[in-house]
């Protein structure tokens, strides 16, 4: 096996993202799949493997598309799942289990059309040991580590707010982003308090939308209309099903472990990276991601972002679609982070970089619960 012997040959999002009350979750999967398969110049008949999250699940999605697959992956561990699907698909293609794999995401996260009600199992560990204390989803749990980080490493409220400002600068360049008007640190700090220290503008959007990918072997690269995006390295890891049991509130072990796997497989170091996407459910997550992957030292990511290093024109472009904070966040955002990596490498992004030969995608699932990392490249290595 060689680095980059598997490619992303097709990639697309749903026609629209944002508020789509006339689409169900399954309908969004179908639309995204249709667009990605067409982007690869293929038909559903060409697909022999399928991966998607556990609900609606690969069996449902395959059947709805008229596909009878020989390989399935229903890994459903939150918003990073699609990065793991790419990793698993690459392994399956190398093993000869499948030849052309379709990975789909669709989620009516905002309009909640065709979505099963979410119920906390009060006998599960989170149900017994966290829910009784008044948790209500990610805003009340994903956010808890940051005060410890702020005290131990000196991150300021203004630096945290600047993460949202920087990403809005990217979103301003992207017509598909939900929010595009420039904001200042003062605007962020004046927005409604959601869960101190997090203000509304430091929390991700809640939207409807979908995306899909077609993954196949690089020896077929010439068969497709779009330039190939090589999968150079991949990693996956999990840490904790409960935020209270995160090993160290000032760093993400799972980001570091999955990142190390992906960089080692790709044979790259941070100096080789032109473009980074880090799942930004909340403003602190890119800070944890940049440090865990070694782009900056521990405690330096807040000032690094606030100094403009990840903004348009900066040396390390980060979340160039506007991210979950300004572009879109259906609930499982990882698919959109991959899509932007693919667009940058192909040269078709709204805020296209001059140089995007190597893109790193860092996904998060749950509240620092699970992680996938992809290293994508314009060329095999």
């Amino acid at each position: 096996m060689s680095r980059g012997d598997v490619i992303i040959a097709g990639a697309a999002e749903t026609d629209e993202i944002g508020r789509l009350p006339d689409h169900s979750t399954l309908g969004l999967h179908i639309e995204a799949a249709r667009n990605a398969v067409a982007d690869a110049g293929l038909t559903m008949r060409d697909i022999d493997g399928i991966a998607t999250v556990s609900a609606p699940g690969p069996v449902q999605v395959a059947h709805a598309l008229g596909i009878y697959p020989d390989w399935l992956d229903g890994t459903g561990i939150g918003g990073t799942s699609f990065l793991l699907h790419v990793r698993h698909a690459a392994a399956a293609i190398r093993a000869g289990y499948a030849r052309t794999i379709l990975i789909t995401h669709g989620e009516s996260g905002r309009s909640r059309v065709g979505v099963a009600p979410r119920r906390m199992d009060l006998s599960s560990p989170p149900g017994q040991f966290e829910a009784p204390y008044g948790t209500l989803g990610p805003t009340t749990t994903f956010t808890i580590p940051v005060l410890r980080y702020m005290k131990d490493y000196g991150l300021t409220h203004e630096q945290l707010a600047y993460v949202a400002v920087a990403q809005r600068e990217w979103a301003a360049k992207n017509p598909r982003a939900m929010y595009r008007d420039p904001i200042t640190v003062d605007d962020v700090l004046a927005s409604r308090m959601v869960a101190y220290p997090f203000h509304l503008l430091e929390c991700c959007l809640v939207t409807d939308g979908g995306g899909a990918l077609v993954v196949t072997s690089a020896d077929r690269a010439a068969d497709f209309p779009k330039p190939p995006v090589h999968v150079l390295g991949t990693g996956e890891a999990s840490e904790t099903p409960m935020i209270s049991q995160m090993l160290d509130f000032t760093e993400s072990q799972m980001f570091r472990r999955a990142g190390r796997s992906a960089f080692t497989e790709a044979g790259i170091t941070v100096g080789d990276v032109d473009h980074v996407m880090i799942y930004d459910a909340f403003a602190h997550v890119p800070i944890y991601g940049l440090e865990a992957l070694g782009f900056v030292k521990k405690g330096e990511a807040g000032p690094f972002i606030a100094d403009g290093n990840t903004s348009p024109g900066g040396p390390l472009p980060l979340n160039t679609n506007g991210g979950g904070l300004s572009y879109t966040h259906t609930g499982m955002y990882g698919m959109f982070a991959i899509q932007e990596g693919v667009r940058q490498i192909r040269g078709e992004a709204a805020a296209q970089l001059d140089r995007a030969d190597v893109s790193v995608i860092v996904g998060n699932g749950g509240m620092f619960a699970s992680c996938g990392v992809l290293v994508l490249g314009r060329q095999p290595r």
Binding site: M120, L122, S123, P125, G127, Q128, F129, E130, A131, P132, Y133, G134, T135, L136, T139, T140, T141, T143, I144, P145, V146, L147, R148, K151, R192, M193, V194, A195, Y196, P197, F198, M242, I243, S244, Q245, F249
Partner: protein, 138 residues
């Protein structure tokens, strides 16, 4: 409107909840490697040994991190903004909890402040919560 969540014990966690009902914070430790741990489970997460035992923790803790939640969970609608905290027990393990006997404001909630366990009755369960040390318990 549903009230505040009432945990449903499982066989592995029942001794913990029995301890709370008796006014004690009972957690586990590994007999082989000596490591105390939380949440309750039958294998030591440090060394994998099944040779584990229950003991009564001191109930002393420090404030590790928290948020002050402005969008209330079920049953918390009338509480105003409230803290969801993670505390570090004197024995080492961490757990989520509520803070009582102290205003839910950044100026009152100082990281590393000493805390002491106390118990809140809810739906037949005794739920461990923490108060500033010296004001409750001790």
């Amino acid at each position: 409107m549903p009230g505040k969540a009432v945990p449903i014990p499982t066989p592995e966690t029942q001794p913990y909840w029995d301890g709370c009902a008796a006014g004690e914070l009972r957690i586990q430790r590994c007999v082989d490697c000596g490591e105390p741990y939380f949440y309750p489970r039958p294998l030591c997460p440090s060394c994998g040994s099944g040779n584990v035992e229950w003991f009564t923790a001191s109930g002393r803790a420090t404030l590790y991190s928290y948020v002050i939640n402005h969008r209330p969970g079920p049953g918390f609608e009338d509480d105003g903004p409230y803290a969801i905290a993670v505390v570090q027990l004197a024995e080492g393990p961490r757990m989520m909890t509520s803070l009582v006997g102290v205003p839910a404001t950044p100026s009152a909630l100082i990281l590393d402040m000493p805390l002491q366990v106390t118990f809140e009755q809810r739906g037949g369960i005794s739920l461990p919560v923490f108060a500033p040390a010296g004001e409750e318990g001790q």
